[in-house]
């Protein structure tokens, strides 16, 4: 792995069912994530995806592309745009630093708007053993 190497792009859509599942699993019952009426009354276009669900999806795709037992050790994201259910989401990661056994990635999650909905950086610790590629 080298600086500038990219993982992905990975694409995914979040369904309304997934929003409800995530709300239950995360114990986050803010109605803007499952009740359109409440969301609209607050000036939103309708229900929006939990920022933390997007953060979890980015980590999921990065870890799925790395060796088993790779661990996230430090992760920071900025939530910049709202994400609606069923939007096509594109997740990208590029290697921005290597400090064996740690690798840093710059990450983005782009929805259907012009600018990324989530940007951040994620540091993983690779498992002991031969470095991939």
């Amino acid at each position: 792995m080298q600086i500038g190497d990219e993982l992905g792009p990975f694409t995914v859509r979040v369904t309304r069912e997934q929003l409800v599942r995530y709300a239950g699993a995360a114990d986050d019952y803010n109605p803007i994530h499952y009740d359109d009426e409440v969301a609209r009354a607050l000036g939103l276009p309708g229900v929006i995806v939990h920022g933390m669900l997007n953060m979890g999806l980015i980590a999921r795709f990065i870890l799925e592309a790395l060796p088993p037992l790779t661990a996230v050790v430090d992760y920071h994201v900025r939530f910049r745009q709202m994400v609606r259910p069923h939007e096509l989401l594109t997740i990208r990661a590029s290697v921005s630093g290597i400090e064996d056994p740690f690798v840093d990635f710059e990450v983005t999650l782009q929805g259907e708007q012009a600018r990324p909905a989530v940007t951040g950086r994620l540091r993983v610790r690779l498992p002991a053993g031969p470095t991939p590629r």
Partner: protein, 154 residues
């Protein structure tokens, strides 16, 4: 209604314990569409050297406490602006995590109609044997709208 007492900045909430259940890990992993057997099969997790099912990285955020000294959160209108998560010793099913939280910074400014507060909420969780499990910081944006002036108000 949102209230914040600046004298309480940095004051930690009373520690609360969270028991990490297998079902909670499985449901969380399922909600994110994860397929890694470490989150679903205790046998697979133990074979890989974990105590039991491994929690996905962002599971830690579900353990944190919003009930921190000096803050009364509004019923609505809190926007999640940023999130930092540092993970230490892995969180597994059966672990008991002791969590406390505090506000480490607040910036307030006038907005178009009311005021805007940027609140940094920090949480820390420790395993029952003392090792740090996570440190998390959420940057939350709270907007308070003043009621629009009413025409017939004297």
């Amino acid at each position: 209604m949102f209230r914040i007492d600046r004298e309480c900045l940095g004051e930690h909430s009373l520690p609360e314990t969270r028991e990490v259940e297998r079902g909670a890990i499985r449901k969380f992993a399922q909600a994110l569409g994860l397929a890694n057997p470490l989150h679903f099969s205790s046998e697979a997790a133990r074979a890989a050297g974990f105590r039991d099912l491994l929690a996905p990285p962002t599971f830690a955020i579900t353990l944190l406490s919003w009930n921190v000294p000096g803050v009364q959160w509004p019923a609505e209108g809190v926007i999640h602006g940023e999130q930092t998560l540092r993970l230490g010793e892995p969180i597994c099913a059966g672990d008991v995590i002791t969590v406390s939280g505090w506000v480490d910074d607040v910036k307030s400014r006038r907005a178009a109609r009311g005021s805007m507060h940027i609140v940094s909420l920090v949480s820390q969780g420790f395993h029952q044997w003392g090792q740090e499990a996570f440190w998390a910081k959420a940057v939350l944006i709270v907007t308070e709208n003043e009621e629009a002036p009413h025409a017939d108000r004297r």
